[in-house]
Amino acid sequence: MGELKLMKGNEALAEAAIRAGADAYFGYPITPQSEVIEYLMAEKPYDRTGMVVLQAESEIAAINMVYGAAGAGKRVLTSSSSPGVSLKQEGISYIAGSELPCVYANVVRGGPGLGTIQPSQADYFQSTKGGGHGDYKQIVLAPASVQEMSDFVKLGFDLAFQYRIPVLILSDGVIGQMMEKVELFDQIPRLTDEEVAEKYPWATTGKKKGTERRIITSLDLDSNKMEEHNLHLQRKYKTIVENEVRYELIDCDDAEYIIVAYGSSARISQKAVQMARKKGIKVGLFRLITLFPFPAKQMQELCKKGVKGWLAVEMSAGQMVEDVMLSVKGCAKVEHFGRFGGIVHTPEEVLRALEEKIIGD
């Protein structure tokens, strides 16, 4: 068993970055995720593994530093919270367009605008449909525990490099700020420059004589080639949808009703499920782990088993619920229950919503 620690989600993410053999973190402070860079700075990862930590002048600079280093084949990450992530959208679109691997975290707070620093899940659309311009996707991992804040950094880098795609760890103020027990994985050594050059022949590591130069770009002025590139991206996304869906079913075997939730909403909904089960209500929890790819097929299968109603629980005015609707395709009623603007729902409210919106009529 790995090392056991009591850590904040933000700290676990930072520690996991070091252990995952990350080469660099570039970031800019913003509540509720400043502990990520603070932890890293205090840990002197440069002494531990040679990892670089740099406080950038802005979120835009940070994401572009990530773009540069990722294009050179290194394992790099950044993190921010909602307003800062909005600023990164152009950069993310570039990373997706140039097919670079990177991990970044959004510890979501309530919006819109400056909003509040309290937890929220209202950046679901931005994360899954594309906050930036163009037809691109990113893998979105939704940790529901501090343990997953750590594990998903490693998983995120693996997926990012396997598919050459940005991986977003979509967290929120609850997961970022809470402490839980976390089992830290063992240190993975950073790749040497030579290993990078060998493993990632697409990376700009310096053109060896007699070889073709490497170009990191998302531009093509020839529309035919650009469309071909887009088709290639779409094929890649399809592969990801086929192979990388991750989710957790809790009490779903005999469930007549299903709550769909992710992240801290899933934690709260799990409590609501426990409470409901005590009352004899046959309800289960479909906890999303990947938001993209979305487990549409798996929901359809549950539909076939005769689920009578779906409740989408999220800290937003209704975003993920659209994907649930698109997945179950009218097979059963789908309702949404949301609190937002920094308010976190209570298990009692979720149970009530289930009874009133789904079972009640």
């Binding site: 080469d23 660099a24 570039f26 670089v52 740099l54 950038a56 002048e57 802005s58 835009i60 600079a61 940070a62 572009n64 530093m65 990530v66 773009y67 540069g68 280093a69 990722a70 294009g71 050179a72 290194k74 790099v76 152009e90 950069g91 570039y94 140039s98 420059d193 700009t204 590591t205 310096g206 053109k207 060896k208 004589k209 130069r213 490497r214 170009i215 990191i216 770009t217 998302s218 531009l219």
Partner: protein, 262 residues
């Protein structure tokens, strides 16, 4: 000396100048007479002369030189508008032993990219910035840049730049020279053989600074023409540049070895 024919001269052993192999064979996409081509070439000549080809990574953001990667025969990263210094910082920080440079236009470096430029310079990133100042946004069709001269016409200052409402031309180079993080700051041109030779010397110095891990950025401005944007012939534009750009953007070293030149 009628006995010496063309064929007698044009022999491999008599070769004295040939485009460097670090420029690809693609025809440059620039307008006839555009200084970008010359600037590209001398940067690549220096990289070749210093033997840096295998460890150099270039960064070119949008601007007419967005396609630099088609012409510079080394590893290249295309950067978002204004963000090349951040992109280069990202690369250099994870590869402190490689050679990293940016190649940016004035719209890019001095407008949208101001923060990235100032902060990369202020942090003293150990990179080279090649800054091609043609006083205009060439690529997008000749709009006013921060560097456009007072009274100068562009597609967004069709009656000439009005300083009162549109602001002053920005001397970014003088500004970054004020920062302790810049080690070498110079302004050059590439429109005459003499200018090219001087510019090349500066670029060599800039790259040598990086090779020798000098503390700070080496920043080379190249005042250049944009005949399309200025709506002049190439030779007229070079003349206009001498008469109008150079008085405002005087050529020469501004900071050498970390010391401002008085």
């Amino acid at each position: 000396m009628a006995e010496i024919t063309f064929e007698d001269i044009v022999k491999p052993e008599n070769l004295v100048y040939k485009k460097t192999d670090l420029m690809t064979d693609k025809a440059l996409s620039y307008c006839p007479g555009c200084g970008h081509g010359t600037a590209h070439r001398i940067v690549m000549e220096i990289i070749e002369e210093l033997g840096l080809e295998e460890k150099t990574i270039g960064v070119a953001p949008v601007g007419c030189s967005v396609l630099a990667y088609e012409f510079m025969n080394i590893d290249m990263t295309q950067a978002a508008h204004g963000r090349a210094p951040a992109v280069a910082t990202g690369i250099k920080r994870v590869y402190p032993d490689k050679i990293v440079f940016t190649y940016q236009g004035d719209g890019d470096l001095a407008a949208i990219g101001t923060a990235e430029t100032i902060h990369a310079c202020n942090r003293g990133e150990k990179i080279v910035i090649i800054f091609v100042n043609n006083g205009i946004y060439g690529m997008t069709g000749g709009q006013m840049a921060p560097t456009t001269l007072p009274g100068m016409k562009s597609s967004t200052s069709p009656f000439g730049r009005d300083v009162e409402s549109m602001g002053n031309p920005l001397k970014m180079t003088e500004l970054v020279a004020q920062l302790p993080g810049t080690y070498f700051v110079t302004r050059q041109a590439v429109h005459t053989p003499a200018a090219v030779r001087r510019a090349k010397k500066s670029i060599r110095k800039a790259f040598e600074n990086q090779v020798n891990k000098k503390p700070g950025i080496s920043f080379v401005e190249i005042v250049s023409n944009c005949n399309s944007g200025w709506k002049m012939t190439p030779t007229d534009s070079n003349k206009w540049m001498e008469d109008n750009m150079f008085p405002f953007y005087p050529l020469g070293d501004i900071k050498v070895d970390g010391q401002l030149v008085k």
